[in-house]
Amino acid sequence: MTNYSFILQDLTKSFSRRLIFKNINAEFNSGSVYGLAGSNGSGKSTLAKIIAGLLSPTSGKVIHKFEDKEVPMEKLHDHLGFVSPYLVLYDEFTAEENLTHFLKIRGIEIDNEKIKTLLNDFSLYGRRNDLLKAYSSGMKQRMKFIFSLIHSPELLILDEPTSNLDIEGKDKVYEIIERESKNKLIVIASNEESDLALCKEIIYVEEYKK
């Protein structure tokens, strides 16, 4: 199992005068699934973005550690897989071209076998040569999972992971979360009960508004 963890230290975020959450302190370790829960607009996605280094907190900090060494923020993308409804892949490329470009930009050697396995896992292998603009929203959501897993990250942040998916797609996602949670640290931001049922610990963001 990989040894990945991150700590939230007195994490506070506000947009102008509107407080989203304040003083969140928590520790997350690999081998588990953690949940970020709350109603719409409660700040789940904001917290997920701050953990992923995509947004700066107003105060406090997030410390990522891999093999007991702190991960600098500019290197975080090497350890992170991220899925969210607001993530957009390149519509002008096919699924295979998207994945090839992502691997080359990351400086990782292209593993055709891994690409094939992941495309098969998410039932997209037959459509691998179609442009992404021809994909349905559910197929694009599956593609985002492949994007998040292709570089074998130690940390997976899944913001509303089952949005746009059909029952078969949801089952596949849950199966993959179960499988990956054995050696990865997974964080799910959702208000779907079935998503949160997979989590060992849940942070209710609304509790940090006072």
Partner: protein, 219 residues
């Protein structure tokens, strides 16, 4: 290597969407046509032709070079870039894309000027070549960092030339002077100070861009 992979992704995307290339080509053709119509049968001086060359280059750069970052913002893929590469890789990749685009654009404009304007005759080719080489690189660096700044703004189209003008003005003034030397056929020795200024501009802009980009890119 990672930056080059990002450039290849952008180049392939550009060849499919033709967003910047078409905009640049149309802009160059329209601007040169307007100049030709407006001068009619008049004989314009060689120095004025040299000045017009850089006016066309400046405004063409304004019409196409913001694409590097603006297109990512428009497509909503900025987050994807954040997730696959470090800020330095992203800046380098976008810079390579703009450098290639500026060189292609400037070569095309110069060839068109040489064919269409009789008074555009370069006497000292080495001065003109060095000015084009360092000047185009300066335009590419400045355009890339300005594109990164304006990509988050709502009035991108207006803001780009407004921000670019004061930043590119010193560069354009030196390039005008060097083009005058090249047209007059002055020796290379007489242009060394201006060429040194061009190199200094490139180094300063490149250093400032690397220092600034991390702050611009985040949030």
């Amino acid at each position: 290597m990672k930056a080059f992979a990002l450039f290849k992704k952008d180049w392939q995307s550009e060849l499919r969407t033709r967003y910047a290339i078409n905009a640049l080509a149309m802009f160059i053709l329209v601007t040169i046509s307007v100049i030709l119509f407006s001068i009619g049968q008049e004989n314009i001086s060689d120095h004025l032709t040299g000045g017009l060359l850089w006016v066309v280059i400046f405004f063409s750069a304004m019409s196409g070079l913001s694409r590097a970052f603006v297109s990512e913002e428009d497509k909503g893929t900025t987050l994807t870039l954040h997730l696959i590469a470090a800020p330095s890789t992203i800046f380098n990749g976008k810079l390579i894309f703009n450098v290639v685009l500026v060189y292609i654009m400037n070569i095309a404009i110069t060839i068109l000027f040489a064919f269409l304007f009789k008074s555009f005759v370069i006497q000292n080719f080495s001065i003109f070549l060095l000015a084009g080489l360092f000047g185009s690189f300066g335009i590419a660096v400045s355009s890339t960092i300005i594109a990164a700044i304006i990509s988050k703004a709502s009035a991108k189209g207006t803001l780009y030339p407004v921000l670019a003008f004061p930043i590119l003005l010193p560069l354009i003034l030196v390039l005008l002077e060097l083009t005058k030397y090249a047209i007059d056929g002055k020796p290379l020795d007489s242009a060394l100070v201006e060429l040194a200024v061009l190199v200094c501009y490139d180094v300063i802009m490149l250093t400032a861009s690397y220092l600034l980009f991390d702050f611009i890119w985040k949030d």
